[in-house]
């Protein structure tokens, strides 16, 4: 593992102008690790962390699903998140419910920009890059690109495994559908996906299918690099496949399992460094409280974020639950947001990385009214 980690570190860090940052290695207090995972496409928080104790749920979603993993009675974790549930039981997972950023847009692209900017408008740098600037520590984007979250004045390394980046099954499915009318390309894509092991039913979203996108492998690589003595201390990763407008019960299983396996792989690869690690998993918005006409959910507002890691005070839920009954939904369609995502992020930057309020105000502009959540770590 050390050998791989060293090689990966060299590959990644030398590839994208690492020079000035390695000088600042010693600046990180206590060698803390901070990782942000962006779930692109809007994860349905009410399916990931099911509020089955709320009497209004069944009217919106029908009976609660079988096999939920208990989170203290009122909430249950999706069965595909067994690894995260173990973290919860060992006090290392803190789900945050009814959370949203400060913006109220339902466009993926805009909302992702705002989520990563850390503001209610698009900025040219991301809040994690500004964090890196304040910390003066090495940081890395793990994946084929540097997300807006990590773009900005501070130099960021970028690492991705060799080989090609396979899309998530739902993107393959969308591509297959879009090209099916082409007499040459259509049959070729259909046959190619079949040869790659995607059944036609899976591509239609009809069955559970393991996402072949290598998120757990990516997370393991990230963990190995973060564990290295000369490795990055701040990192960002991305995982797609959450835009479940149809057949959500089946479509969600793949991405959830990827996320779950990824976090388990991250912990394993970090080894002893896990104790100094906090991870924030966030998505651009939640989804509609009601199931739509095609067994899916549409773009909504309030959702779920996860905070986890060896440094996290977990084993509980953080939520000011707004309720699902009559008149409780935001615009009569979405879970109402009661926690500002920035308060959780600021709480982690303050509690975990030791940043002061002046730095936090620079990282999240015009957020003086948003108090950093206390006691997360």
């Amino acid at each position: 593992m050390m050998k791989f980690s060293r090689r990966a570190t060299l590959l990644g860090l030398t590839a994208t102008a690492m020079g000035p940052m390695s000088l600042a290695l010693a600046a990180v207090p206590g060698d803390k690790r901070f990782i942000v995972v962006v779930l692109r496409g809007a994860m349905d928080g009410m399916a990931a962390v099911v509020p089955h104790g709320d009497p209004g749920l069944s009217a919106l979603r029908g009976a609660a699903p079988q096999g939920l993993l208990d989170l203290g009675g009122f909430y249950g974790l999706h069965p595909a998140l067994a690894g995260l549930h173990e973290f919860y039981r060992s006090g290392e997972l803190l789900p945050v419910h009814a959370i949203a950023g400060p913006y109220r847009v339902r466009s993926h692209f805009e909302a992702q920009d705002f989520l990563e900017s850390g503001a209610d408008h698009r900025m040219t740098s991301g809040w994690l890059n500004r964090t890196v600037a304040a910390m003066a520590c090495p940081a890395m984007a793990v994946g084929v690109s540097v997300p807006l979250l990590l773009r900005g004045p501070s130099q960021i390394a970028n690492w991705a495994p060799h080989g090609m980046a396979e899309p998530a099954p739902d993107l393959y499915a969308a591509i297959a559908a879009l090209n099916q009318g082409d007499r040459v390309i259509g049959p070729a894509i259909a046959a190619g996906l079949k040869e790659r092991g995607f059944s036609a039913r899976a591509l239609m979203g009809k069955t559970e299918e393991t996402n072949r996108n290598a998120f757990p492998a990516l997370a393991a690589s990230a963990g190995a690099m973060l564990a290295a003595p000369d490795g990055p201390r701040i990192a960002a990763m991305e995982l797609g496949g959450w835009d479940t407008h149809t057949a959500q019960a089946n479509r969600l299983v793949g991405p959830l399992k990827q996320l779950d396996a990824g976090m388990v792989a991250l912990k394993t690869a970090l080894g002893p460094a896990w104790k100094q690690t906090a991870v924030l998993i966030m998505t651009e918005f939640g989804r509609t409280a009601r199931i739509n006409g095609t067994g899916g959910t549409d773009h909504g507002t309030g959702g779920v974020a996860f905070v986890l890691g060896g440094a996290v005070k977990g084993g509980r839920i953080l939520a000011d639950w707004p309720g699902l009954g009559a008149g409780k939904l935001f615009e009569n369609r979405d879970l109402a947001p009661t926690t500002d995502l920035r308060s959780v992020a600021k709480g982690l930057l303050a509690g975990h990385l030791g940043l002061g309020s002046a730095a936090l105000e620079q990282i999240f502009p015009a957020s003086a009214g948003v108090t950093a959540a206390k006691g997360l770590v």
Binding site: R40, F109, D113, L171, W242
Partner: protein
Amino acid sequence: MDTRSIHALIRFGLGRRGTEQLPADPGTWLLSQLRAADPPRIDPFPSTASGLAALRDDRANKPMPGQSKARALFVAQAAGELGHALTTAAPFQERLVWFWTNHFTVSLRRGECTGVACAFIEEAIRPHVAGRFSDMLLAVMRHPAMLLYLDNGRSVGPNSLAGENGKRGLNENLARECLELHTVSPAAGYTQDDVTALARILTGWSIEIQGEPQGFVFRPRAHEPGEHRFMGHTVPPGEEGGIAALQFLANHPATHRFLATKLVRHFVADEPASADIRRVEAALRDTKGDLAAAAGALVGLESAWQPGTKLRTPREFVIAAIRSLDPPEDRRPNTLGLLGALGEPFMAAPAPNGWPDKAADWAAPEAMIRRIDWANGFAGRLGARDPVEIADLTLGPLLRPATLDAMRRAGSRRDAFTLMLTSAEFQRR
């Protein structure tokens, strides 16, 4: 946006580069590219001299794999060639360079032509894409890359001075491919005797590698003496005989028909209409093989302005994708390695007949999935740019409403850009 303007860049060019200006008069814009030479800026510029010097060193030093000077030269020059395709403002000229380079295939898979492969493009092909076919044919047949690839450098006339010691003899490889693939094609009805005769006519057409000056050399000692009967004509001995034979082949009606068919198949349709072939054939015949006239005739075909009839090859696909996003030079993918992964390694066609030119040849299921996988990886470079805006720039009115709709509903910018790159309207030209 006018469909013809964007179509001109896609059908006859390499796809729109970023926000490059669209031609107001597409036909005039295309034909104007035939007048101005637009060679790639490659440092050091490919040349036969440097390529053969590298080959000479490699032969002497027998380098380990990866240490070959010729290979290093090729990799640097190939990157220059492909980089040029990403930025050229004369993409029709570049497409013609690609077409004729493939017509006269030299491949790294055979012979020792690696060091001179890019010199072949710049010396034998590019100067002639708007010139006479007979000039291009002569330049090709005398180029060390072709002479190495198809073994003519060591072909010796049986009755020549060099042949009389009996160690070496005739090699028909170049002569056969010249007839079958480069000029008249089997439709002309030539015989094995004609193949052998042309091989004898071309004996002595060789390469100076060890001595100076390096390059093409006619070796009288290896040349088969006497007159030759070739396709019903008498060809005199000497180097002039070969030149005359090639001149005859270049202006043969069967050559015009064959070239016209290939041109229309490449630029217009997998199954070219015979009326279209006749138009281009007539242009070649009436101008004694003026390739600019042939290119002009192609542009003048009504059917050439029907979008989407051809599938982009992996190289065309990748170049168009990169031109569409138009990243800065230091953020462009390694195109050379990529073409290998996608099944069209640069200057490495499997056989002398070159890369195939029909959709079915490129639409193998795994090949299509690899395009998708690559596109998805490349789409990660989109950054914060608006994929819908790029789609509008790149495809204009050719973008289907269904694709636009799918892009707008995609879960991320990157997914949306992947959808554009893998759409049928982008994969076709």
